[in-house]
Structure formats: structure tokens, C-alpha cells
């Protein structure tokens, strides 16, 4: 019993010590990131190298990180919040935990529709969610808009993942913004009837399922497609090679896009460094990295997408104010619940 007590004591002491000794760097910036470590750390390391500013990072789910910032209040550790969709940035803005960024660099680099009109958040990379179809099986002439996918001719031909996923919630939120509640509900009701299989798995799974013959059409984000095409696994490569991209809604609002973006927190202690980091992430080199490594589209117009992305053709992106995705998120989830979209 005695040695056990000792052990416990040592454990406690070491815990407390580790808490206190969370080393104090002269210049630092603390990042809460919903982007996975592998998709942000290389850039952050470059930033530290160039500027000498030390970056502390934790990754996690956006909503949980936001909750943490909210409850930490004015003592929060976080200086920068990075998310992988605009809806969450809007949510952080409404929660009152962000501060306005005043940066000409950012305003010049990032087009209006990819940043908050009031400057609370900035998009850093663009993710498109187009339609994929099986080459040879589907005539691209058949396809036109997201709305048309609810038509009877597509009965049991579509694969899409669960509506728990934020990308689907954002897609429906964007439709709500233009078509209104009633029409979108009707669309969702009909669309669900066109699903070939119950929604499950991730975006890659939808592309694989279509390639294997379970459905003709899949909806997925482009960077998954890019990763499959360049995968070392032959089955992924083959699956992706069997599919082609169709950019929907080119004759009206454009294809649905979302952003991965960043914001500075209201109570962060290192605001200047935080801004520097975001400016770095919007620099030409960093923007190219998004395109080359993760197959996302750069937000900057003066940085061309990677060759692979170029080969998919240019497209018109929906220019909706991305805050609308956040505004409509709750209603979008309800609509999908009612439609029985799992």
C-alpha cells in the first residue's frame, strides 16, 4: 500500500510539473485546428522556420474545439482557430469568440466570396463537391444540376454518404439559401428515393461503390478523388480511373464549394503572431502546397491549381456568401431528418 501511495504521489507531481512546464517561448502562437495534423503541420513548420515564431498545435473536431474556446473564455489558450468548413467559422463568429482581422495582405490575397465580409474569418483553401459518374455508363448530357438529381430518371442510381457529414449539411444549406425551405424539403424527399444504397462510409467509399457497379453517380469532394487517382493502391486508382467529374449548376449559381479557413480568437494573447500565421497560410507558396499535397483548390486567383486539378477542367463555383452555410445548417439537418436521409 505504501509503495502504491508513493507511485500515486510521483504521478501527481509529474502531472503538475508537466502542466507548469508547458514551456514559455518568447514568440509563439497557439493553434486549435480541425484540419488533421498531417494536413497542417508541414506548413506550420515552414512558418516557424521562416519567422522564428514557435507554433503550438492541437487538432480535434471543430465543434469540440469551439466549445473549448468558449468555455476557456478570456483566458483561452487559443490564438488561431482553423476549421475545414465555413459553417463552423460562422458558428464561432456568432458565439462571439473571434476578433476582426485587419490585414491588407489578406484582403488582397483572398477573394471576397471566400472570406467573412466583416473580416472575422478567412478561407485558405477551397473544396469542391461535384458529381462523379461512371464513364461510359452515364451520358454527361443527362446531368445538369444538384436539383435535377432528385428527378425520377436517377432512381436508385446515386451514392452519397450520411447526412451526419458536414459537407452534405453544407450542400443542403447552400440549396436552402437559393431555393427556400419548401422546395429543398421536396428535393430531399425525392433525392433520398434515388439513393442506390443506404448512406455509409466516407467520400472515397461512394466513388469506389460507383466504380464497382453499385450506383452510377456519386457525390464527393474532389480532393478524395485526387488522392485516389494518385494512390499507391491499385484498386483505389482503378476505381477512380473509372469515374469522371461533372460540374453541376454551371448555368446558374455554380458548383457547391466550401472552404477550410482560419480566424483569430477574441481573447488570444498573441494576436499579431496569429495574424502573421494566417497571412503565411495565404501566401503563394502555402497555397500551392494545398493544391499539390491535398488536391484542394487554392483560394488565391493568382495561384493556379495543380496540373491534376487543371485536368478536371475549369468550373464556375457557387459564389454564395459562405456564412449562409452556417446560418442554414440547422434547418438543413432538419430537412434531411424529415426526408429520412440517414
Amino acid at each position: 500500500m505504501f509503495y502504491k501511495k508513493n507511485l500515486l504521489l510521483t504521478a501527481l507531481v509529474s502531472l503538475v510539473l508537466s502542466a507548469i512546464s508547458s514551456s514559455v517561448f518568447a514568440a509563439e502562437v497557439n493553434v486549435y485546428s480541425a484540419r488533421k495534423e498531417a494536413l497542417i503541420k508541414p506548413l506550420i513548420e515552414q512558418f516557424s522556420e521562416q519567422t522564428g515564431i514557435h507554433v503550438n498545435l492541437i487538432t480535434g473536431k471543430a465543434d469540440a474545439l469551439l466549445k473549448r474556446i468558449e468555455s476557456e473564455g478570456r483566458n483561452t489558450h487559443a490564438d488561431v482557430l482553423i476549421t475545414t468548413d465555413a459553417g463552423r467559422l460562422y458558428r464561432a463568429k456568432s458565439a462571439g469568440v473571434l476578433t476582426r482581422i485587419q490585414s491588407d495582405t489578406l484582403n488582397r490575397a483572398i477573394p471576397d466570396n471566400f472570406r467573412d465580409p466583416e473580416g472575422y474569418w478567412y478561407g485558405l483553401s477551397v473544396r469542391a463537391r461535384p458529381v462523379f459518374y461512371v464513364k461510359g455508363l452515364v451520358d454527361p448530357e443527362e446531368l445538369s444540376t444538384y436539383e435535377s438529381l432528385a428527378e425520377n430518371q436517377f432512381k436508385k442510381r446515386i451514392c452519397i454518404r450520411s447526412s451526419n457529414n458536414i459537407y452534405n449539411q453544407s450542400l443542403v444549406a447552400s440549396m436552402l439559401a437559393v431555393n427556400g425551405k419548401e422546395k429543398t424539403q421536396q428535393w430531399a424527399n425525392d433525392f433520398v428515393k434515388n439513393l442506390a444504397i443506404k448512406p455509409k462510409g466516407g467520400d472515397r467509399d461512394q466513388i469506389k461503390a460507383a466504380a464497382a457497379g453499385q450506383c452510377d453517380i456519386a457525390i464527393a469532394n474532389t480532393y478524395y478523388f485526387g488522392k485516389m487517382l494518385t494512390s499507391k493502391k491499385s484498386n483505389q486508382k482503378q476505381a477512380a480511373a473509372a469515374m469522371a467529374i461533372f460540374w453541376p449548376n454551371q448555368n446558374d449559381r455554380g458548383t457547391h464549394v466550401n472552404i477550410s479557413g482560419a480566424a483569430v480568437t477574441k481573447f488570444g494573447k498573441n494576436k499579431a503572431n496569429a495574424q502573421k500565421l494566417i497571412e503565411f497560410l495565404s501566401s503563394k507558396e502555402s497555397q500551392r502546397w494545398y493544391a499539390d499535397v491535398n488536391f484542394e483548390y487554392p483560394v488565391r486567383r493568382d495561384v493556379p491549381p495543380s496540373d491534376l486539378l487543371m485536368s478536371w477542367g475549369e468550373f464556375k463555383a457557387d459564389s454564395i456568401n459562405l456564412n449562409q452555410l452556417g446560418v442554414n445548417n440547422t434547418e438543413a439537418v432538419k430537412i434531411m431528418d424529415r426526408a429520412g436521409w440517414r
Binding site: 504521478a11 495534423e37 466549445k67 473549448r68 476557456e72 462510409g201 464497382a212 484498386n235
Partner: protein, 546 residues
């Protein structure tokens, strides 16, 4: 006077600890009282029925799965002799080291429509989609199978320990009175082991209720996915905690059932150590059946997914295994070691305190403190973030007012908060094992020791702990393995620049890079295997081997 003081110390201590560890649950539940909003009505109208039925089906299926695998194999390895028995008695625990979501990913990789098995079948027979029937892995049935395969060791572990503790006298009496092996099993061994079996089952079911990774990946909507969707999709924390409280209702029913089964029959073992009952020598045909019955769960719960992970690890080793990787191992290990020891000490205190003062109040407090086990990790994590941040900010305001000095956040974002949340989540595991093994020690032992002048703590130290040694090790190692696998709380509460194996495995898997995730996943499994082997050695070595 002295006695009175002692009583109060135990009671106060127990109440304080229980209260401390139930804070996160209370924080979550407190938003229930914000009243019924539109979103709640929307949930009731649309998806609530699905959540309830799916969760019930899942629990029912997992009960059948874990009981049939767990009790059968435990019985076979304790009471029968057949080739491979000695190997199986520890190997059957191995699936415990595999996180449920990892096994779900690997099986999906193998058995899904686009996986190698079905692709092969299609090519071989020239089938196309819709031409043939194949069990759909990503379904509620699939989820039941996955969860049963990794959770049956709980039932196996506890029922085997109970079988082994059964004194030979009882069984010999039954045999000598003319009962055959089957009858002895159903009328004597099984009822006597029932409390342990049900404890094992309730652990498995609580894990089932708290599971998020598997059901989310398989597209099965249960309470956990519903809580997430409501909280983060609808953005309604109070409707989400209303869902969480229905989930807790399920947990309460489970706990009451477990209590009830224990109360009905209080089996104390006769004093002293006796030889384990003679094992039945099985005839070749039956021995072969027994062998298969043990081999199958081991193959499908461990060997198959493990080999798949191994293949992926080899494929990606060059890229994934570097210095960072070793840091991950050390982080995971040290967290698990420290926390499991703390959980054991707390469980001993609570279990023994309850034995000393077996009042309704004490029982209630212990139950409340161990509810965290069935609540999804993210929900617990948020229940931890809120009170710690509040405490930090209150201290900070106070020192600002008094001394014009800011303390900042003292606890939030430290390992302390993380360890606390692990304890909230896993205390139930260690409390459960400690309680059930304390229950088997006759109260007369305490009385004898006390009458000879030992103080309660000395009784615990000199009598109970030595007797319970193997159960204590069980408690320690179960928590150890659980912490290695824990993900959501780690994700939200860990300090800056601090990662664990589970975090790495999850991040890559969630990014749909299963092969890259394999090296971290396999390390979780390998690190988990060491305690699992220790565990099984301790159970069989303790006294029972002839």
C-alpha cells in the same frame, strides 16, 4: 468517539470523490432543464424512434453475441480438457486489445462490396451488382458482429475467473449426486457465476452504448450518433443532453439489472484454497468441436484483422514509422499506466467504503460516479472542459481582484484534465471488478480481523488486497487497455503538441487513409496485448492450476 470519526471520514471521503467524478455527468445533464425546444419536438417527430430501436437492437444483439462466445469459451477452458486449451485460455483475451472502430475499418476493407472478397467472387462467377446476395458488413448486423467480437472478452474474463473460483467441493457434490456435466453446468456452475457474467455483460453493453466510431462508420443511427448530430448539426446542446439523459436511463436500467442479479444471490466461497475441480477429458470428436469453438472467435476477433493491419503496416512502414512514432508510444503508455493505477486506488477506496457502510446513500453515490462509462467520450470531454474552465477562470478573477495577478488557465489544457476525464470514463470498470470480488469475501472475515484489533484500512491491506490480488490486476489492466484505446476525450483535452497512438490512428483513418493508420493501430493492439497476457497468466496462476 474514535469509531464515529472513522465512519465519518469514510463517508465524507466517498461522497466527495463520487461527487467529484460525477461533475461532468451533472454538467451535461443540467442543460436538460432548459426546457423542451423546437428541436426536441423535431427529434421526437423524426428520428428519436430510430435511435431508440437501433440502440436496443444493438444491445440485444451484442448481449447474445458476447454471452454465447464469452460463456462458452470460458466454460470450455475452465472445465474441459482439449488440445490447445492452455493456449486459448490466454489467447481468447486478445480481441480486447483491438479498438472496435479499427476492427470495423479492417472488416469493411475486406468484406465490403468493393473489397477483395466480393470482387473476387464477382470476377470468379462473372456476377454483377445485384446478381447475388452477400451479407452487408456495414449494417446493424455488422455492427453487432464487430462489437461482439471485441467485447466478448469482458464476459469471458469475468465468467472464467468466476468458474475458476468455484470450489471443487460444490461441483463434486453435484456430480456425486448424479448430475451429469451439462446439468452441473446449467444448475450449479452457471448460476453461481451469474453475478460475474452479468458484470461482464454490463461492461460490454455500456461500451456498446458509448460506441461512436463503429456505428458512425456503418451508418447506423443510435443515441451516440444522434447526440453528435443534434449537438453539432442542429447546434442544440440542450436537446443533445436530453438525448444523453435518455441514454443514461438505459444505463440505469442496466445497472439496476446488474445490482438485482447480484443481490438475489450472494455467493460467498468457502474458506481456504481448494484444488480446482477435475477437468473433463473430452472425446476426440467433442474435443475438436471445443477447439473450433475457441478458435473461431480468436481468428475473427483478432488473427484476421491483425494480419490485415500487419500487411498495411508493412506497406506504409517507411513513411509512418519515425521518431514521432516512438513518442506516441511513450505518451500512450505513460498515460495508461498512471491513470490505471489511480483508478485502482480510487476503486479500492470506493468499494471498501461501501462495504464498511453499506447504506443506500453510499451505494447511490458509487453508482453515480461510475455512470461515465456509458457516455460517449466526446460528451464526457465537454463535461470536463466546462467545469475546469470555470474553475480556472474563477481562480483567475479572484487573484486578479485580490493581487492584481493573472493565473491564466491552471488546469484546462493540461494532462491533469485529461487524466481526470479518463477516470470519469473508466472508474466504472475498476469499481466493478473490485466490488464483485469484494462481494465474494465473507463478511465474517472482516469481523474476525476487526475483532482481533485491526483497523478498517488494515483489514483492507492485510486481508482483502491479498485475497483479491488477481481481481485487482484485472481491474488495473482493463482500465489500462481502455485508456490505450480511448479517443474522443484525448482528442479534445490533450495539451498542445501532445499526441497518442489512438489520435494518430484516428486522424489517418478519418481521412480515409486506412493503410497509413495501420501502424498506429497495430501498436495499440501490441501494447494492449502485453497486459492482456499478464492478465490471463495471473488468473490461471493464482491458485487454480492443478
Amino acid at each position: 468517539m474514535i469509531i464515529k470519526l472513522e465512519i465519518d471520514r469514510w463517508r465524507m471521503g466517498l461522497a466527495a470523490i463520487s461527487l467529484l467524478f460525477s461533475i461532468p455527468v451533472i454538467v451535461i445533464l443540467s442543460s436538460v432543464f432548459h426546457g423542451v425546444g423546437d428541436n426536441w419536438i423535431h427529434l421526437v417527430d423524426t428520428v428519436l424512434a430510430d435511435y431508440v430501436t437501433h440502440s436496443l437492437i444493438l444491445m440485444f444483439g451484442v448481449s447474445i453475441g458476447t454471452l454465447s462466445i464469452g460463456v462458452t469459451t470460458a466454460w470450455l477452458t475452465s472445465f474441459c480438457d482439449f488440445p490447445g486449451r492452455k493456449f486459448f485460455q490466454w489467447a481468447l483475451l486478445l480481441p480486447l486489445a483491438v479498438p472496435a472502430y479499427i476492427i470495423a475499418y479492417t472488416y469493411t476493407g475486406m468484406l465490403d462490396f468493393t473489397g477483395p472478397v466480393q470482387t473476387f467472387l464477382r470476377e470468379w462467377f462473372g456476377w454483377r451488382a445485384g446478381d447475388y446476395w452477400f451479407p452487408e458488413i456495414r449494417s446493424i448486423g455488422g455492427a453487432i458482429s464487430m462489437l461482439s467480437l471485441v467485447l466478448y472478452p469482458y464476459v469471458y474474463l469475468l465468467s472464467r475467473a468466476a468458474f475458476l473460483e468455484q470450489s471443487s467441493i460444490t461441483l463434486e457434490a453435484s456430480r456425486s449426486l448424479g448430475m451429469g456435466p451439462w446439468k452441473s453446468f446449467f444448475y450449479i456452475a452457471l448460476p453461481m457465476a451469474r453475478p460475474a457474467i452479468i458484470t461482464g455483460l454490463s461492461l460490454a453493453l455500456m461500451e456498446t452504448l458509448a460506441d461512436f466510431g463503429t456505428v458512425e462508420y456503418f451508418g447506423v443511427s443510435t443515441f451516440t450518433t444522434g447526440i453528435f448530430r443534434t449537438w453539432f448539426g442542429l447546434g442544440d446542446a440542450s436537446a443533445a443532453s436530453q438525448l444523453a439523459s435518455i441514454l443514461l436511463l438505459f444505463v440505469f436500467i442496466l445497472i439496476i439489472m446488474e445490482r438485482f442479479s447480484r443481490r438475489q444471490a450472494r455467493y460467498h466461497q468457502p474458506l481456504g484454497r481448494q484444488a480446482h475441480a477435475q477437468r473433463f477429458q473430452l472425446k476426440p470428436g467433442r474435443a475438436w468441436l471445443a477447439f473450433m469453438a475457441c478458435l473461431l472467435p480468436l481468428l475473427s476477433g483478432f488473427a484476421l484483422p491483425f494480419s490485415q493491419l500487419l500487411i498495411w503496416t508493412v506497406e506504409t512502414a517507411e513513411e509512418m514509422i519515425n521518431d514521432d512514432f516512438y513518442v506516441l508510444i511513450i505518451n500512450s503508455l505513460s498515460l495508461a499506466v498512471v491513470t490505471s493505477i489511480m483508478a485502482l486506488c480510487l476503486a479500492l477506496f470506493m468499494g471498501y467504503g461501501q462495504r464498511l457502510h453499506n447504506t443506500m446513500f453510499m451505494k447511490f453515490m458509487v453508482r453515480v460516479a461510475s455512470m461515465g462509462y456509458a457516455i460517449p467520450g466526446t460528451v464526457i470531454a465537454i463535461g470536463v472542459v466546462i467545469p475546469f474552465a470555470w474553475l480556472d477562470n474563477s481562480i483567475d478573477s479572484w487573484t486578479r481582484d485580490q493581487f492584481d495577478f493573472s493565473t491564466g488557465l491552471l488546469f484546462s489544457g493540461t494532462l491533469f484534465a485529461l487524466v481526470f476525464s479518463y477516470l470519469v470514463r473508466f472508474l466504472a470498470v475498476s469499481v466493478g471488478s473490485v466490488e464483485s470480488s469484494l462481494g465474494k469475501i465473507k463478511p465474517s472475515m472482516d469481523d474476525a480481523a476487526r475483532s482481533m484489533g485491526l483497523k478498517p484500512l488494515q483489514v483492507l491491506q492485510k486481508i482483502h488486497i491479498p485475497i483479491m490480488r488477481s481481481s485487482l490486476l484485472t481491474a488495473l489492466l482493463l482500465v489500462f487497455v481502455d485508456i490505450l484505446k480511448e479517443l474522443p476525450a484525448t482528442l479534445l483535452l490533450r495539451p498542445f503538441n501532445f499526441n497518442t497512438l489512438a489520435v494518430r490512428a484516428y486522424e489517418l483513418a478519418a481521412d480515409e487513409r486506412l493503410a497509413d493508420a495501420a501502424s498506429a493501430a497495430i501498436m495499440i493492439v501490441l501494447t494492449g496485448i502485453i497486459p492482456v497476457i499478464l492478465l490471463s497468466l495471473s488468473i490461471s496462476k493464482n491458485r487454480y492450476e492443478p
